[in-house]
Amino acid sequence: MELLSFGDTGWGDELFFATLMTIAVSIGAMAIGFLFALIFTPLKLSKNKTLNIIGNCYTTIIRGVPELLVIYLLFFGGTGAAMYVASIFGYDGYIEINAFITGALAIGIISGAYSTEVFRGAILSIDKGQFEASKVLGLKKNIQFYKVILPQMLRLSIPNLSNVWQITLKDTSLISVTGLVEIMRQSYIAAGSTRDPLFFYSVAAVLYLILTFLSMKIINKLEVRYNKGF
């Protein structure tokens, strides 16, 4: 147990900050995912063929390739691309993109694909009458969306978004391969320097279980709250 103590002798504080890092990356990734979903959901629902294909390509490709591949592509490719752009402007040094940003972006792109599907499903399951009624009432197009469709869409997507959140939370463990010190990376370091991988990976597993358990509790509360009137 002294391995988990806080301070210089134990790994408690390191693991604690690593857990905060995991939470931060997950929230960042989820937020980036929402941005992607807000762009691609309208594309997927659009009547325009080309826009439709663009939206479908995004979700199909991202959900069809391993998460690790997206992360590697961004991590290795991103550095190269940034250096190439910099070399045009006459800078030839090595550029390292922040691991946090790359990681959150990579996981965000992935969770965005899942969120897009969730939002699309939610909008499709809103009763047709709601669209018609808001049209009949003479509401403008954007007010229709913001005041009628969006609130219902969010309520309907909470249960599925909770799944996306769990997937995102677990996917952040993959960012450890790029060197960002989150739970997985920290346990890897601790396991390497104490030669006790069994213990530290078990701790990592428990930390992830606590995170998923707590987030389930919070999301269930939200679900109850937003379903009050139904």
Binding site: L69, Y72, L73, F76, G80, S173, Y188, L198, Y208, L209
Partner: protein, 220 residues
Amino acid sequence: MISIFPSLLNGAFITLKLLVSSMFFGLLIGLLFAILRINKNPIINKFAYGYSYFFRGTPLLVQLYLIYYGLANIEFLRNSFLWVIIREPYWCAIIAFSLNTGAYTSEILRSAFQTIKEGYIEAAQSLGVTKKITFYKIQIPIAIKQSLPAYGNEIILMLKGTSLASVITIMDLMGEARKVNVLTFKPFEAFITAGIIYLFLTFIIHNIVKYLEKKYGFQT
């Protein structure tokens, strides 16, 4: 682009081998735990629930590391005959993947078992079919048919999951792509080619499952 293709295809072959063997063991584990989950005994029930909660609540990478690095730490395992298995990264990967997909499969099958209409079982009972035969000949086939769509998703998730084998030195498709990237410093070529192969595999699996659904799909 063409020169890296053969090595990537070799990797894809290993990916498929990992996928098929872990899906096979995972299905067995999943079926076993689904049966335990619907058992009325609370201890057996809770045990099966705990299993699926652990494996669904933690990242696959943690499970892989626990088995690959963690198990080797236990003295008596190192001295037992099991050491032959757990010292090989390939077998560790299969164990981790099977246990992981087993947990998800057990949930899929459990919900399928629970949605079987009472009428089928009652009909079997009124025909004088014994409980055991009802279970093997009616409940299990219906559950498997009903869970085909969800199981198809699980296969694709697992295909993506096998890419993690590359972090424990297995040269699967992902591992080969990483090697190409390190050797040539051409990340885009390596990873995009690998991505296309992964997409192709996903596409094939998706269509096979769709075909099976059409052929054996069960409408209630």
